[in-house]
């Protein structure tokens, strides 16, 4: 039996039994340094259940790094990250799913890709099949189930990556530029899938460089610059009245000069 919340076991389509305002992730004063260089510093963010948080900012601001810290792929150098008030662990990682910018497809069929992760997460044979079919149907990939995953188009592979992530029934979906290098049609399909997941109660944290996507997808916006949170808050308010010059410049499509985090 998977370690994540037992209430989530029966179906991908179930509405998640979570309190709306429950903080899933509380990051307090986290920093990350490597070889004496700080890539993130003094970052404090709260990710709430059923909310969509979008991380924006220039290249090198630390957005993707922050996702990896949230997911426990790398440890923070300073500060602490809590999952529902507890320290990050393998259990908390199993309640999350992450989709990377370049989808990593196993050298197997679409269905085998789905079943692999479900097997790793402890789902038994019939449950694996049921969840895989549900997720593929949700992603519109049912007809491709027997195809090798690596011959799918970029958009289809990213949809499969999202479906594979959702099949395990995560409470939080972490997305690192999931539509980078996709055409508008494929972007739309991936966004629909993310929206459908969110409507079923899954919280989303997404990194994007696409301002239009941020406007469409964000409930909460976090603007990172040089490894620090330059501005964060309600997305609509931030888009309407940006406070920091950097965010104003970003929204205006202007370039601005980075400063060092340390």
């Amino acid at each position: 039996m998977p370690k994540c919340d037992a209430k989530r076991q029966s179906s991908l389509g179930e509405v998640i039994d979570s309190k709306i305002e429950l903080p899933l992730i509380s990051a307090r004063d986290i920093g990350f340094s490597l070889n004496g260089q700080w890539f993130l510093k003094d970052v404090s963010i709260t990710v709430r259940a059923r909310k969509r948080t979008v991380l924006i900012g220039p290249n090198g601001a630390g957005k993707s790094l922050l996702l990896r810290l949230f997911h426990g792929l790398i440890p923070a150098s300073t500060g602490e990250i809590l999952w529902k008030g507890q320290k990050l662990s393998s259990n908390s990682q199993e309640c999350q799913a992450m989709v990377f910018q370049r989808p990593v497809m196993l050298r197997r069929s679409v269905m085998a890709n789905m079943r692999f992760v479900l097997g790793v997460r402890g789902f038994a044979g019939r449950e694996q099949t049921r969840r895989a079919k549900d997720a593929l149907e949700m992603a519109g990939l049912t007809s491709l189930a027997s195809r090798p995953a690596r011959v799918l188009s970029g958009g289809e592979q990213q949809c499969l990556a999202v479906a594979r992530a959702l099949a395990c029934g995560p409470e939080l979906l972490l997305l690192d530029e999931p539509t980078a290098s996709l055409d508008p049609a494929a972007t739309s399909r991936v966004e629909e899938l993310i929206t459908a997941a969110h409507e079923r109660g899954i919280a989303v944290v997404m990194v994007t460089h696409d301002q239009g996507q941020a406007r469409r997808m964000a409930d909460q916006l976090v603007f990172l610059q040089s490894g620090r949170v330059a501005e964060a808050g309600d997305a609509a308010a931030m888009f309407a009245t940006p406070k920091s010059p950097a965010l104003r410049a970003w929204l205006d499509g202007r370039l601005f000069v980075e400063t060092e985090a340390n």
Partner: protein, 234 residues
């Protein structure tokens, strides 16, 4: 007899299914395939583990595997001889000058080749999968199994390298097998012996079969690599 005559005689031996010839071929295949299968069972998981795990001393293990790839067969033959000889630690098993001793010597030669080459294949694949596997929470055991499975269209080339080494080997099997007629005589040792004795027909017939076997194995691997299915999964 001129060379054309030798070639004709060699062809006749093959065409007539000469019992002495095919006894040697059969024993060669038994020894080689047994050694390669056991080497794969040892070398593939070892290579996958070294490729997929990060541990203290990993660099030294890789270095040792790479060095062992180039082991001189006669040195291996000598070492296995010392171990299996009557005064050696395993002398009581009385394996010297048996096909089993030849298989052991070939395992010692082939396992490092399969481990070292598969390590490289698996490591390249793991670099691609590492972050996704970490995200999935894949266990160490499942990681090795999954990597070996996903490299299934690349690893036959590694195995082929092992087959090539085993089937063409002379020095080690000569020392531990003794090239005894009807007991431990294989194609390579027979070719060496018959050439020195001037029985070129049998030597050439064995050489032709050896080349044909190499061709068949290569065609098989090329066919495997060239299929559309393989292209989609590699």
């Amino acid at each position: 007899m001129n060379n054309d005559g030798v070639l004709l005689q060699a062809a006749r031996l093959i065409a007539e299914w000469d019992p002495a010839l095919f006894e040697i071929v059969l024993l060669s295949l038994q020894v080689t395939m047994s050694a390669v299968v056991i080497s794969c069972l040892l070398g593939l998981p070892l290579g996958a583990a070294v490729g997929a795990f990060r541990f203290h001393g990993r660099g030294a293990v890789i270095l040792i595997l790479n060095v062992l790839m180039g082991l001189p067969p006669v040195v291996v033959g000598l070492l296995v001889y010392l171990v299996l000889s009557a005064s050696g630690p395993l002398g009581v098993l009385e394996l010297l000058y048996t096909p089993t001793a030849m298989i052991i010597a070939q395992i010692v030669l082939v396992t490092p080749i399969i481990a070292a080459l598969s390590r490289q294949v698996i490591e390249d694949l793991y670099l691609e999968y590492a972050e996704q596997f970490a995200s999935f929470g894949v266990s160490r055991y499942t990681r090795v199994r999954a990597l070996l499975w996903d490299a299934r269209y690349t690893l036959p080339t590694v195995v082929l390298a092992g087959v090539g080494r085993a089937v063409a080997e002379v020095g080690a099997v000569m020392i531990v097998g003794g090239n005894i007629n009807h007991v431990t005589r294989v194609m390579t040792t027979a070719i060496a012996l018959e050439t020195s004795r001037g029985d070129l027909e049998l030597a050439l017939a064995l050489g032709i079969i050896l080349l044909a076997l190499a061709l068949v194995v290569n065609v098989f691997v090329m066919a495997l690599r060239g299929t559309r299915v393989r292209g989609a999964y590699a």
